[in-house]
């Protein structure tokens, strides 16, 4: 009965009695029953230790537990025996902690058994609490598999391969206790093992490539022609020629590339192109005398890509003369890397940017008026139709007094440009059709490529050679294969396993390499290839912290390094570990400060905030477009805001209350609509504002508000749970399975408060929801994207069957109308009344220890990869106290964590 936490959680919710285990204290978080141990425990006779175990407790155990948990086959293999409690045994602590959890969470006694009175349960829980606080020691990390990011960084560092990336299909890591680097949660499955083996082969191939003998060029002629070029928006196939009519800067819009060619090998190819210029009398633009420049770029692959030309390798230019009719032949030799294609671009044409279209309309009032006269949505028309219709209107009377002609033209919408709140004008269609017909344009009439004429060593090969040389090192004169292999592996294995490696273990790997060399008469590289593969699937590489008790210097180095950089120890840390210096708290401090000031600490910032503040969730949320028209840019800016705020607090050692009420933030103009700023420019900017306001700090971040909603509506329960877990540090247990979530009433007839107040009607719900709901209500002013609101929105539905058009998008404000007013009043469990989020911030700043303890706990979980236990409680109290005695700085807090007892044990 003891081992099925899920069932009991369900039970706990329907128990009539609502008991709070220890007032205001459900910390630490209840342990899930990851494993169950068989052993005996004491119910001591009152005579031998009456002071430690009160008679009431024994009575409790006898009355409520003994039926199932005594005898030869106790339920859940948990048995209470009349033996003294051996607190020094980790198993004892572990078991009594479980007893504490199930009794305090009302999971035990089971629902169908007799239930203790509230006072009795409280007494039992209080006793357990005091005993555990006294006897439990910090520690208990399960060995931690490297998570995806740590694995990638480890391979990158080990082999000097910054470009290494696990494939998309690499299995995702599970999160536990809020993070994806927790020992218990990091499962290893057969598909993951298969991936590890495959990646080990890939890496070994890259460092020690198989000997395929010399490669030969074997040149071929590829006749590509003009019509086998991939078309993009501003290119067309006109009969037997390929026409380029724009000089925009990205290849998805203006380039052609061969559909049926990519370089089979890295080498020199001879490219031959026939091209001519097109300029006719009907052309709108002035005739150009200067040559049309045809530029050739290296394109990474034949498939669709969205590259800017200035980021592609420029290979050659051809000047197509404008004074001759017949196509001119150009030829040159170009260098292509295996797999590359080439892109063709007209780089000096008159049509080159979106601003150009805007200018054309500003200059040409008649054209502008004609386009306004089309008077219907251009969608559904073809480019030719639109052009023709515009021409027809240009022939007739035009209303040149239309006030819209003087209105500002705004953004580019899928090609066309638009009036503010007005029609979309497909001026680019018009221009494109015009130049397509009459020029100016650059025509390609034939393309062929021959090669490779000779092979080249590309960057990749050069890098590989350098890496191989570095990995192997110098071979001593006269060294046998065995000696050489041993020399290489003695250097490699300690770095792979992040600790010193004994002779015996080195010999196992040397033997493995030598067996391959001797049995297949292979090169030393092939023998080492096998040894490298073995090392990369070895548990010594894939797991860390296997040794129980106090961490030794090497394990400390790994813990510190993966904590603050998600990477293995660097040279300096490794050397300090080898010298046994990391046990020294001062050296640990200086190393912590060094790592925090390195670029790599951004891994920590991203990973920790992504999980603690939920920004990773933003990838899974798509706000309703009627509420907010959301782009990638918004997501990136929201995430950056969180990371930059966190980073400043960390690097400047700001005090912990800065998280709650900083008076500054980092924002981007794309978030103006959310924060009401008037920022300009393309960069994130540091903004300062009055403390104590609505926005600012983790309780007013758009990213956090979005991550705690679902994109469509907000939910006080979701945000309340989030606050308890991540700000107050007093998480509530999982909700029972059989209770449906409250669906917000988006029509506005029922208020959110009356919906959540149903929770109070049921006492078993009220037990937790008294804590959750009032907190969550305080954040109701933030809409699902974190904008301040005073009323709930009512979503406007487009007519049935009608497409969701721009007018319903939030940019226009027509997607929603104001509904019932927000009621954000909340009462904390201690009776404090909060009118809105500013009160909540003030409360937390005044009672900063609540937040400090929570954040310290989160950091400790993240750093040690384990849930917190009663032993950590003392540690956290001490850290929080010590740091507060200084300036309560965040960086000081991290240092204190690294120096703490909890950090230094497994």
């Amino acid at each position: 009965m003891f081992n099925n936490s899920k069932n009991h959680r369900r039970i706990s919710a329907v128990v009539d009695e609502a008991t709070s285990p220890v007032p205001g204290d459900s910390w630490p978080r209840p342990l899930p029953f990851a494993s169950v141990f068989v052993f005996s425990l004491l119910i001591t006779a009152p005579l031998c230790s009456a002071q430690t175990i009160p008679a009431d407790t024994i009575r409790f155990l006898n009355r409520y537990c003994a039926d199932c948990h005594t005898g030869d086959e106790p339920e859940g293999e948990v048995r209470f025996d009349l033996q003294p409690i051996q607190w020094e045994r980790a198993e004892s602590v572990d078991l009594w902690q479980r007893v504490y959890d199930v009794v305090s969470q009302q999971e035990m006694p089971p629902r169908d058994a007799e239930q203790p009175a509230t006072a009795d349960r409280k007494q039992m829980v209080d006793w357990l609490h005091s005993q555990l606080t006294e006897h439990a020691k910090p520690g208990g990390t399960t060995i931690r598999r490297l998570n995806r990011e740590e694995y990638e960084n480890s391979i990158r560092d080990l082999f000097d391969m910054p470009e290494f990336k696990a494939p998309d299909a690499f299995p995702a890591d599970d999160s536990q206790y809020g993070f994806d680097n927790i020992g218990e949660g990091l499962v290893l499955s057969p598909p993951l093992m298969a991936q590890y083996l495959e990646l080990a082969t890939l890496v070994a191939d890259s460092i020690l490539p198989p000997d395929n003998g010399p490669e030969v060029a074997n040149p071929q002629l590829y006749r590509i022609g003009a019509t086998w070029l991939a078309e993009s928006a501003w290119t067309t196939v006109e009969g037997d020629r390929f026409r380029i009519s724009s000089s925009k800067k990205d290849n998805a819009h203006t380039a052609g590339w061969p559909i049926r060619f990519s370089a089979p090998k890295s080498g020199i190819y001879r490219l031959t192109i026939d091209a001519s210029s097109l300029q006719t009398d009907k052309m709108f633009y002035a005739r150009q005398d200067q040559p049309f420049r045809l530029s050739i770029y290296a394109k990474q692959k034949t498939e669709q890509t969205y590259d800017w030309f200035d980021r592609l390798r420029h290979l050659a230019d051809f000047d197509v003369q404008t004074d001759q009719e017949p196509p001119q032949k150009f030829t040159c030799e170009i260098e292509l890397i295996k797999g590359e294609a080439f892109g063709l671009r007209w780089s000096n044409g008159p049509v080159h940017s979106n601003g150009f279209h805007r200018e054309r309309l500003k200059q040409d009032r008649r054209l502008h008026a004609a386009m306004l006269g089309i008077g219907k949505d251009p969608r559904g028309m073809s480019q030719q139709q639109y052009y023709q219709e515009t021409l027809d209107l240009l022939k007739g009377e035009l209303d040149l007094e239309n006030p819209r002609l003087d209105e500002e033209l705004v953004g580019i919408l899928f090609g066309g440009i638009a009036h503010k709140n007005g029609p979309k004008l497909m001026v680019d269609w018009f221009v494109h059709e015009e130049v397509r017909r009459y020029g100016p344009a650059l025509d390609i009439t034939d393309v062929s490529i021959e090669g490779p004429l000779r092979l080249i060593e590309d960057d990749e090969m050069r890098t590989r050679k350098a890496r191989t040389a570095k990995f192997l090192g110098e071979r001593a004169a006269g060294a046998t294969d065995r000696e050489y292999a041993e020399h290489v592996l003695r250097r490699f294995l300690p770095r792979a396993f992040r600790r010193s490696v004994g002779d015996e273990q080195v010999q196992v790997y040397v033997d493995l390499a030598m067996r391959e060399i001797e049995s297949s008469n292979a090169r030393i590289e092939d023998g080492l290839h096998v040894a490298v593969r073995r090392a990369l699937v070895s548990p010594n590489f894939l797991y860390r912290s296997p040794r129980p008790g106090r961490l030794d210097d090497f394990d400390l180095a790994s813990r510190l390094s993966y904590f603050l950089t998600s990477s293995p120890p660097d040279d300096q840390l490794f050397e300090l570990a080898a010298l046994g210096k990391l046990s020294n708290a001062e050296i640990r401090k200086s190393q912590t400060l060094r790592l925090l000031s390195s670029d790599r600490s951004s891994n920590f910032v991203k990973s920790f905030t992504g999980q603690w503040l939920g920004t990773r969730r933003l990838h899974d949320i798509m706000p309703d477009p009627r509420l907010f028209f959301y782009y990638q840019q918004h997501r990136d800016s929201m995430t950056s805001e969180v990371e930059m705020l966190f980073e400043e607090i960390l690097k400047e050692n700001h005090s912990l209350d800065t998280f709650l009420d900083p008076g500054f933030s980092y924002r981007h103009k794309s978030l103006n609509k959310i924060y009401g700023d008037e920022l300009d420019g393309n960069e994130m900017q540091r903004v300062e504002f009055q403390r104590g306001g609505r926005h600012g700090g983790i309780l007013g971040l758009s990213a956090v508000m979005m991550a705690t909603a679902n994109g469509v509506d907000t939910h006080p329960v979701q945000r309340g749970v989030w606050l308890l877990e991540n700000v107050f540090g007093t998480p509530t247990p999982e909700p029972p399975d059989n209770v449906p979530a409250i669906a917000p009433d988006t029509t506005g007839t029922t208020t959110m408060r009356s919906l959540v107040e149903k929770h109070r009607a049921d006492q078993s719900c009220a037990h937790c929801h008294d804590k959750i709901d009032p907190l969550g209500m305080v954040l109701e002013n933030f809409d699902p994207v974190g904008r301040w609101r005073d009323n709930y929105p009512i979503y406007v539905q487009p007519n049935d069957g009608e497409a969701l058009k721009e007018e319903f998008y939030a940019n226009t404000g027509k997607g929603t109308k104001p509904g019932p007013p927000i009621d954000s009043v909340g009462v904390l469990i201690d009776g404090t009344r909060l009118n809105d989020v500013t009160d909540l911030k003030r409360y937390l700043v005044e009672n900063i220890d609540i937040f400090s303890r929570c954040l310290t706990g989160k950091l400790l979980v993240y750093a040690t990869g384990r849930p917190l236990n009663f032993g950590d409680r003392r540690v956290i109290d001490k850290i929080v106290g010590d740091v507060k005695d200084q300036e309560n700085g965040f960086r000081d807090l991290i240092v204190a964590i690294v120096q703490s007892e909890a950090f230094a044990v497994k």
């Binding site: 669709q304 559904g380 593969r533 070895s538």
Partner: protein, 422 residues
């Protein structure tokens, strides 16, 4: 894992760390072998069209036997007695391109897809348990098959790679053999390596190491299987593969045709019995019947209910269906080992994870079933307003059960749709 397994494991740790803990995976999924060779379909092909179809021109207006074929499905009218059209089915999942991931798995967050559950049952009989195909490099959110761990399986997008994989010439056989052989010795010694570790770790750690060794053992088994197949010669076929893979978006339809051809060959040679095929779409401008369309494919799918755009969107849709027709023709013409047309023993599921691409609405998904010896001939309109509406997962239950997967539920669906098909 349930606690009883763990107990067994812990009791056994003194003897051996590497217990095969994952053997019960199959039972945990509620699936067991139970086969009736006579009535059982042998192959499953699932084809998903990324940018979907215009629903009103995909679904026939009338239901039952005597429906008039819809404009988009017209190219396969000849198969109407061998196919069933379902309208009104979906997973009640979330909308948007990302919702596509739910098409075969029922869940947008990454969960095992139906084809992989089937492959678990029939996969061990062929060289490839299942194959995942596409054309070129699809957009990032276009995923179709997922493992039990919720990992999206990579897809082969180049015809030449698929051809090489299926009918590999001897050239890279030596390399594969070398890797198989050496990888076995890589894995062989791992247990001795950690012997020292085992003495020091705690019981939770032992559990983790048990997980590790179970995985190692599983991979070893897989390597053995690969070795067996490597020793058997690959089938010889005569197929004129083009010199260059048509993976550029402009020629995606050409790629689609070749992929279908190779899929038919893969089934005919019994190289695999489970295929999934994702037909991607980008902003390429197609030329169909010598007419260049007025806009890119993706922008046609956001047709804004404009008649002209819908017509062109449908033109692309018909091109897809036409190619499906060509594939069905091949399955009809080729015979299996028992001299039955392949189509009789191959269930083809055709559709899209996108219901209405115009609004990114993932409800009322286009759904078509062909072949597999099912009771066909009708258009069934599923009442979405019913008290307990049918889900696409219900249909998948029927399909999976046909393959002997005794699952009673799939992604929230709990009742099969046998009454429509058996």
């Amino acid at each position: 894992m349930n606690p009883s397994d763990r107990r067994t494991f812990l009791k056994g740790t003194s003897a051996n760390l590497a217990l095969p803990m994952l053997e019960s995976t199959r039972a945990a999924l509620g699936a067991t072998h139970e086969k009736d060779p006579a009535s059982e379909p042998k192959r499953l092909v699932c084809v998903g069209v990324y940018l979907g179809f215009y629903q009103k021109d995909f679904f026939p207006a009338k239901t039952g036997h005597h429906y008039d074929i819809s404009p988009v499905l017209e190219p396969i009218e000849g198969y109407r007695e061998e196919m069933t059209i379902f309208s009104g089915l979906d997973h009640r999942g979330r909308h948007g391109h990302e919702g596509w991931r739910a098409w075969m798995s029922g869940r947008a967050t990454g969960s095992v897809s139906m084809d992989q559950l089937v492959a678990d049952h029939v996969g061990d009989q062929t060289r490839f348990a299942s194959m995942q195909l596409t054309c070129g490099s699809p957009p990032g959110d276009a995923k179709l098959s997922f493992t039990k761990e919720g990992v999206a399986l990579p897809m082969i997008g180049r015809p030449s790679v698929l051809y090489e994989t299926l009918f590999r010439s001897g050239s890279d056989k030596a390399r594969m053999e070398y890797l198989l052989k050496t990888n076995r010795s890589v894995l062989d010694g791992l247990s001795e390596e950690t012997r020292a570790l085992e003495r020091t770790v705690t019981s939770k750690d032992r559990e983790k190491l048990g997980e590790y060794f179970a995985s190692v053992r599983d991979v070893e088994k897989k390597l053995q299987k690969q070795q067996l197949w490597l020793d058997r010669p690959t089938p010889k076929v005569d197929y004129p593969l083009p010199e260059f893979d048509p993976v550029a978006p402009d020629v995606a339809l050409e790629c689609e045709s070749i992929m279908y051809d190779l899929m038919a060959l893969a089934l005919t040679t019994d190289s695999t019995r489970v295929l999934t095929f994702l037909i991607p779409g980008w902003s390429q401008v197609f030329t169909i019947n010598n007419r260049k369309l007025s806009a890119g494919y993706h922008s046609l799918s956001h047709h804004g209910n404009e008649v002209a755009k819908i017509a062109e969107y449908n033109m692309v849709g018909r091109e897809h269906v036409k190619r499906l027709g060509g594939f069905l023709d091949k399955l009809k013409a080729n015979k299996d080992a028992d001299d039955r047309p392949l189509l009789d023993t191959t269930t083809v599921l055709y559709g899209s994870g996108m219901g209405d691409a115009n609004t990114h609405d993932n409800s009322n998904l286009p759904t078509l079933l062909v072949g597999g010896g099912l009771r066909h001939g009708q258009h069934h309109q599923i009442d979405r307003g019913a008290a307990s509406p049918r889900l696409l997962g219900d249909l998948y239950l029927t399909l999976m059960q046909q393959f002997g997967v005794q699952s009673e539920q799939f992604a929230g669906a709990t009742s099969n749709m046998n009454e429509y098909l058996l």
